[in-house]
Symmetry: C2
């Protein structure tokens, strides 16, 4: 099989699962998962392996980094900062000067892309797929298209001249409902995914990530196949 | 003391020590060291702490990352790839297609900058100093000025709008001899630094890094204060 390899960042959530399904249409998969001390690390890792098994990924790399937790500054990595519940009329922010939610992990996606790029350079993959969503998202700065365009320039200037790795963001302009529909169309295993920021057993249904996911399924007219807590 | 904070990447080598001395002229220091599974990890960490003590650094962060060793592809992180000895007429390369030496650690400096940026964003530092040298160096792609210019754009687009962190590369256009002279001028503790890629006890004097360092001291007309193996 001489299809080209692609590194796909798979958190275990819905967006990265659909991204892997898109990449699998034309590339051999090298799936990368990064634990960074987030609250639901264990549950997301389980989802990653289940998704990787389903895609029969030939290459898989799990990396654990401790420094984002050491550095802190986010509700996802610092237990002292509560995960906000979603309120569409008053988006939760950690800082009145900023429209960025407290679940933003400072510059997290740059760490993920650096790891993906080093791996791609060594195994000879020419593309890195990441399921970032700009429009219908939490508003994290490192999920915007301009950030990925800038990072492509960093890869071009910071790797061997023959490396030529490019970041691909197939979901960047999609709504959550479009992502659900695309996943259903490609038979992506959405039942294996985990999106909740707060819990590891049943999804809370209340955090920003659950709220965005549920909105997507509702608008797509498709039932969400994962279990939620009853009291939501 | 309300001087602004600056994050300085300090490997423990001569270049980063001089960079810290430059930063210390106008900023309070937050010194960052990253272990990445390189051969001389332990010796470099010792040098880092000695340098940080000398500068009375108020903030210091030591991060250990395992993934650059897991990913491999470099003589510095893979024991199966020998560290080449320096031969100025025939620079050692791992790959005939490329002019990049086998000691290049794929995209390493992007990892270091990502960690520095996250830390700077959380502690409120506005500058990241890194002792990269472009001209008189091993020719690593991630030591070139264009790489740092591109990374500044990634920081601008990927962090909170109020963050505004900028990378500063004071040595980028200096020769090794100019760096030695600047270190002597600023009373930087060059006797505490470690540059050797190969050994942990006495510097080998033969690897690219020792050769560049020795050339710098020779051209500056200053004796190198660290001990070398006799047989070099």
């Amino acid at each position: 099989m001489d299809t080209e390899l692609a590194v796909v960042l798979v958190s275990g959530g819905m967006d990265s699962c659909v991204t892997a399904a898109i990449a699998a249409q034309e590339r051999r998969l090298a799936l990368l998962h990064v634990n960074y001390g987030q609250r639901t690390e264990e549950r997301e890792l389980r989802a990653f392996h289940a998704i990787a098994d389903r895609f029969h990924a030939g290459h898989r790399l799990v990396v654990s980094i401790e420094h984002l937790k050491m550095i802190g500054g986010s509700a996802l990595t610092d237990p002292a900062i509560p995960v906000p519940e979603s309120d569409p009329s008053h988006p939760a922010t950690s800082d009145p000067r900023s429209a960025i939610p407290s679940t933003y992990v400072p510059f997290r996606n740059a760490h993920l892309l650096a790891i993906a790029t080093s791996w791609a350079e060594v195994i000879g993959a020419k593309r890195i797929y990441i399921g970032a969503v700009e429009e219908d998202s939490s508003g994290y700065p490192d999920c915007r298209e301009v950030f990925y365009q800038a990072f492509n320039k960093v890869i071009e200037t910071g790797t061997r001249p023959e490396t030529r790795v490019v970041i691909v963001t197939p979901l960047i302009r999609m709504s959550k409902a479009e992502i659900v529909r695309k996943g259903v169309e490609l038979n992506a295993p959405l039942e294996l995914t985990w999106s909740c920021y707060q819990d590891n057993d049943l999804a809370c249904g209340r955090c920003e990530s659950c709220a965005l996911r549920l909105k997507g399924f509702r608008e797509a007219g498709v039932p969400d196949p994962i279990p939620y807590r009853r009291d939501r």
